[in-house]
Symmetry: D2
């Protein structure tokens, strides 16, 4: 089994710079998380963007989509900011023949307490057990793209009731 990880930034990779008293996206924590998870499969990590997901543009999403569509792997885990993870998932759904799972974190992986490791663990399991399609792994749930939203008030992801009409 081979998994290609694509990092795009987001809270999961945020780091604190004292000089600016501000959090910015730092180097990806995915490699570190996989090492801690003692994973025993082939993978590589492609660093694509280092952005807060609110700053990701339509052009960025298009670039990500074209990269994956033209790439030779079958399974992708994408680390992504939570604010527009749903939007990026929607863009990727037109890619055929691949299993793609987006994940991220509501607090930085560099924190003592963070959902980052749990979420990447979920994504790794989901990308190898699910069929073709695009999914989100957050808050202990695996969601299908198009059926999920971020509830900003509750700061968590939830299923969107699908309309039947």
């Amino acid at each position: 089994m081979f998994i290609r990880f694509v990092t795009t930034g987001g809270t999961i990779d945020k780091i604190y710079f004292d000089e600016m008293s501000q959090f910015e996206v730092g180097e990806s924590q995915v490699k570190h998380i996989l090492t801690e998870g003692l994973v025993n499969f082939d993978y590589d990590i492609v660093s694509m963007f280092q952005k807060d997901s609110l700053e990701l543009t339509d052009k960025d999403r298009q670039e990500l989509k074209e990269f994956i569509a033209g790439d030779d792997a079958e399974r992708y885990v994408i680390s992504h900011g939570t604010d527009t993870m749903v939007e990026t998932a929607d863009v990727l759904t037109s890619i055929p023949g691949k299993t793609i799972v987006l994940t991220g974190a509501l607090s930085p992986a560099r924190f003592k307490t963070s959902d980052a490791v749990f979420n990447v663990g979920m994504a790794v399991a989901a990308v190898q057990t699910l069929g073709r399609g695009v999914y989100l792994a957050m808050n202990g749930r695996v969601f299908e793209a198009g059926k999920v939203r971020k509830n900003r008030d509750k700061n968590c992801f939830e299923t969107v009731a699908t309309d039947r009409n």
Copy 2:
């Protein structure tokens, strides 16, 4: 979605007692891990054993099997010591109509660096994406019961080549 967690002990829950300069199985870390994972689904946790898995007996395995077979949930995540996780999985395969994922850790969840959180994340994703059956989530892989062994020399789980015919 509802998941019932059953804890049986193992390295994942080990704690160090200074007086004896020895590690013993402590209170389960599963609740703590789920809280850190910010999970947003219904669950409960049943504490069944607090044993090193080398000390689990056939009778213990039978008791676990009968509990799950007679219980009303559909999805189970079982935390378990790694040394006999494969054996327990084999015993559970005769239970029909349920999705059961065993997981654990090669180093204690109370350690700064541990595979525990990653593994429970994997198990939670696997138990909701897979159909009926018994599985192991370890070392970044989801294995089917009956097709996996612990390689004690490498201290990791690996696929067993299926029979010679």
Copy 3:
């Protein structure tokens, strides 16, 4: 031995709020650090400010000084932002008859990797081994007030060469 801890905010207590993608001063981590340090002495914690130290005003410093001068304890550990820790120390030097140690952290205590615990440990030792006066405990050093500055380029505290006369 009794130590009174006074918290004033700073990086040590910073927390990340996703909604604003920004770090703000959260609840003090001092209590948590002392618990982890298994300390066995009498103490209490007074929460005075929750500010980035760049936002502390002359009036704030005066208030802190008057609180300590009029208070009945002999030993004080003050958690403080690093940017103006030196200035606050200078203001406190006119208080007679007390041992006061300021400390803080260059990265938040809530981070997996932080100097916060080490620094509070240093401050607790320094406040019980030193005589009357005002001190800073940072970067593995105990400095006397008036003989220390923050080197912002190197992001660390260092001794100031004393005057030529």
Copy 4:
């Protein structure tokens, strides 16, 4: 300022080996702790023993004493198991002209929650603020050798009342 660290083993450096389901003394965590503490002074680390302190012999203590007595540094921090830290401190008190602080931990530094970092922070402060002599830094207290014991029931260090005769 120069500090020489001498590591002798103990709980602070313990690590868990799954194969034996047992804790053993691993590589010293002192270097890692000093890095996390962002210390800015000159030091080196001498690894002398890797033993549970119950296994340290009179000969070991003599060897440690001779090493320090014949060595050129002025300040020493010794990491040590807690069970016989007091005994080793007693042996070292006959060394003249040096400041020596023993410290260790009641739970391993590799644990998520441990007193190790706090204690090393204390020792580093104590060794630079105290005059010649031998001290223990544990449980938030700096004790003088000869006036401290480990209370095994409470699992903490405490002052011994000195006899007047």
